[in-house]
Symmetry: C2
Subunit: 701 residues, 2 copies
Amino acid sequence: MFSLNDYKKLTEPESVALIGVTRRTGKGSNNPLEVLLEWGYQGKVYPVNLKGGSILGHRAYTSVQDIPEVPDLAVICAPRDAVPGLFTQCAERGIKLVVITAQGFFDGDERGKLMQKDILSTAACWGVRILGPNTLGVVNNFNHFCASFMRFINTVSATGILCQSGVFTVGASQIYNGIGLLIDTGNTTDIDCADLLRYLARDPRLKVINIHMESLKDGQKFMQAARDATALRPVVIYKTGASPTGSVAASSHTGSLSGDDKIFDTAFKQCSLFRAKDIEEINDLNKIFSTFHGINGKNVGVVSISGGAAIIAVDACTRYGLEVAQLSKPTMDLLREMIPEWAHYGNPIDMWPAGMFHGYHHAYRRILEAVIADPLVDSVICITSSFLDEEGDFLDTTEIIREVARNNPEKPIVAWTYGARFQDYAQKFEQENNVVYYYSIDRAARALSALYKYHHVIKKKDNQPVSLPINSGQILVNKLLAGTVKGNLELTRVFEILESYGIPVARWGKAENINEAVLLAEKIGYPVSIKVSSPQIIHKSDVGGVRLNIDSTEQLKENYQDMIRDIKSQHSDVKIDGVVIQEYLSGGTELLLGGKKDPQFGPVLAFGAGGIFTEVLKDVSLGIPPLSSEELKNMIEKTKVGKILAGVRGTPKVNIDVLVEILTYLSQLMLANPSISEIDINPLLAYTERVVALDARIILA
Amino acid sequence: MFSLNDYKKLTEPESVALIGVTRRTGKGSNNPLEVLLEWGYQGKVYPVNLKGGSILGHRAYTSVQDIPEVPDLAVICAPRDAVPGLFTQCAERGIKLVVITAQGFFDGDERGKLMQKDILSTAACWGVRILGPNTLGVVNNFNHFCASFMRFINTVSATGILCQSGVFTVGASQIYNGIGLLIDTGNTTDIDCADLLRYLARDPRLKVINIHMESLKDGQKFMQAARDATALRPVVIYKTGASPTGSVAASSHTGSLSGDDKIFDTAFKQCSLFRAKDIEEINDLNKIFSTFHGINGKNVGVVSISGGAAIIAVDACTRYGLEVAQLSKPTMDLLREMIPEWAHYGNPIDMWPAGMFHGYHHAYRRILEAVIADPLVDSVICITSSFLDEEGDFLDTTEIIREVARNNPEKPIVAWTYGARFQDYAQKFEQENNVVYYYSIDRAARALSALYKYHHVIKKKDNQPVSLPINSGQILVNKLLAGTVKGNLELTRVFEILESYGIPVARWGKAENINEAVLLAEKIGYPVSIKVSSPQIIHKSDVGGVRLNIDSTEQLKENYQDMIRDIKSQHSDVKIDGVVIQEYLSGGTELLLGGKKDPQFGPVLAFGAGGIFTEVLKDVSLGIPPLSSEELKNMIEKTKVGKILAGVRGTPKVNIDVLVEILTYLSQLMLANPSISEIDINPLLAYTERVVALDARIILA
């Protein structure tokens, strides 16, 4: 078994073999040995090159067999056609961890795919773990280890990075402001993002972990690793490939309302990842998380050289759920003393008038010190200027701000400046690593809000998933699903499955002829509906297979005959399984409850507004089960129809607990029956105490 | 009369008096004369300083009376208490245009407000126009004129700027990448943003105009100026102060659903302004508009050093409504030739494999040249790297990209790089002003999309507002509103007003006693509803003042008595004006139609989902009348309920023309009756051919 500790051999091996390393050195040679030596790596290095000799003063072995010990790690840096052979040699030599850098395997043509399969079976046979193929390797700035043919900046930062593409590996210095540990997961044919996330989250040197994700194989495994990681460190994720990838048209509402990216988004939220929408947001979040250890609350003081910029700061705080702090009396008294009588005073603070009367530096220091000492203030946004030359110096308060930050490490200060020299000012602000500069006020507020969220929401919540027992109805469902084939289930069986699991269906029965229908209707009580049951009919109303609100035997007979005749005349090949006679219900709130099997994450639940306008309103929230009652309640409350259920303008309040119970049953049903690919319960009618399915469909994979 | 041409005296006066200019010079002196001389202004300058003598080699006049000519422009740079006196002297000297820089007038205390009123009456008396107070002045980089005590970068760009705060004036060099013409509108006590916008839009040296707006006095005037300007140039607006400013709780749905910022947003969209959400977006838009004269279409070629970054580019194009171009056969053939067989080829283009096999520079040039020559490609996003030292140079294609851009000026190329040296690369890309660098791919795509929108949507549309005739119902409405007071109108009068204007109301009549009610109900035909009519009752259902679906005389009598008794027992002081008996209608789609008088923009229309869930669904679009039928149709189609009206899953399609007609009547009603502050028609029921108001309220200001 490979333990978490074994991954250490990937990021700080005691010995490494560089297999197929080039003899070329210097500019453009992309020689990983050269990179490693430049970095000052202290472990043993064994270059392997068919021609032997020496490279950069190191003996080059002609084969991995000749290396005097079994190295912790082998890096195969040969072109793809040579990889399978070299990999087998590594395995035979007893090496347990191999990095493969070449492209052109699963990411390439048929031949590449075959070669990768070949490598995988060798690996399985010898118990070798693989990073890659198609990886730019590993960078460890703490221990000066770099297994890559590319050069990186070796600026140490408290940043852990997992990426799936060169752009995020090579661009890391720009994107993350330095690197602590970086691993390019490549094709993730074996070691994947989830494995490495668990590993990195336990490294005490890292303050924030980043993930760049293009694709994911095992969503559940990833979510569990992410849940564990976010309890330890903030984790930022950047998922690319959000555009629809030509997925097959879905046949249920749940299918069409839960696009790929929406499901990824739901998963990320459930395990408390920060999803960055672009590279700049990644950078912003890394800066705040690696600089500040915490924040006491969401009240922001704004100390601005300009009234106009102060307004922008208020907009930005509001946008990201922060509060513009009320100031306490001593601070307000100071402001009244410093600011001329004709000017407004209070938070946000426009420094200009006070600066005009008391000297800018003096005023800035006194006011900022008062604001940061104010118990009602948890963080400060400092807005200053970065003008040209002389005037600029006169207004340059970066030193004052850094000094105040140094004396008040528990209250984050972030800064923005305007004026031509902003790049210089950014550097000045950040030189002691106690103030963070942002390129806009909006980005500053967004970052503060994330810091607050991590320490006051994410860290405080129990992030572990619930476990759901097997529903006792499964025994019946096993029988009901036995012998079914791919596609649409007939209505009667759908109703039976729901009822087995405890999901109430409006009273119904199956009639095979008109007399049975009449008897059933009398038993159920008028008004009733008639619905055709056939595995070949997915959209019953589209073929005229639904008749609603029938309130006499006469009407029933007429509608029954009409309906069968209509369908048969238009679709002579349809096999009608029978007819469902069902209690007709009106009023109540129409809901959609659905489930869909996602290739990455498995079952996904959908809840939202039902009825004929489902697709127009698109009022749906998703959840990946198993979910706690609390999480299911949130799913309901997030939607607009959820607010209607809570009682609006005289409409009755619906008992949400009943609904949560039904969502739980649906979760169990989806989790226990992988053959179900889609379920729609629509409408599910909600009354004050009764929630009942009126129509539903199940599609088997 | 002040003509557009007269504003030229503000930005390029032949002579200017600097009144109250300081004798101090050098560092921190903020001396506008010094700034002006440094800039090399060619016109005549008359410094005025009480003590006379000379300043920087220029004779200082002790009074404006002594200046040998009437200057085109006077800039008063004295502290506020001296301003009224100096202003009067300017007026008496015959100066027609005065800039006042001091703070503390309408933006200050009561004394300041009084002083400003004083100045305004002097101005009116002598016919003087004022810029400011509280302005940092005027900058004209084309003619080296700068009327400000602050120093600016005098880099010329094709950018016109109107701003309302120091942050945007002093920060301009950072925000807009240089300045063409800049005017700080300050308190806009006289010359305002609309005046100057018309002026700047006609300056052929400017390619893009920018507005920073904190507040607005005359929304209609501004909209007309903006409509005119956007037909000539792209106009970018940054509106700050979006957070709710403690506005009084609204008493109608329309009121509560149309917040300040939503109305500004509607206005900006109607006159085709680009609203930037932050300073970075302003910068991005200015770069693209001042570099490229046009774009042929929305098809983007992506030439990327990294497959991972190419995916991000596809996401970004999709997000902003651009298309990832299909390539034509010759381009595809070239790619097939250059890219190794195992790798994918097509747009987006991952350059790495081709570069590996053919040399990076060679491959990049051939492929980029083919892509830009491809008739199916309208613009290109180039993604390249900005690595450290040697490897970086090997991959540095900035020169190739600039050269291709030089040869293909009609197809915009934008660039992004990743890697530590991105700032250097940004400069390299932009040095010939034919490629624009962006800090993220997302921002690059957003800018290209704006360029497309300006040239293919905004410039092609007829941006002039329609004019609506007076509705003939106004004669009746004059009578109905005569003698009414502030507040809620009684229901009967509301219905009469709507009907006067041609807005159909479900058949109704007023009954003053139970016998009248019975007769009316028989005349209207059962089922009917009963509604209380009282100016004191705004929310009838909240006091039990509505009884629906009554279908017999018996029920009517019972409900009538019940209702009156109920209301009287709970609200003994309420004056019941009578009772409305109204046709009860069911089915149809419930709509909200509303109007609200906005302090800036005047009447604002609202259209959306009606019924009891109006406030939960928040499915509302706004419009500022007068609007064309086309614009009203858009308002309807933008909402979700608009899609339902178009016919969804078997629901009947509603005749939108009927609805557009009613929206037009409502526009006329609001425009002709400024005393109406809010109207709600809710629900307005829409059937296939009939649209009818069921309930409504009107609130008078």
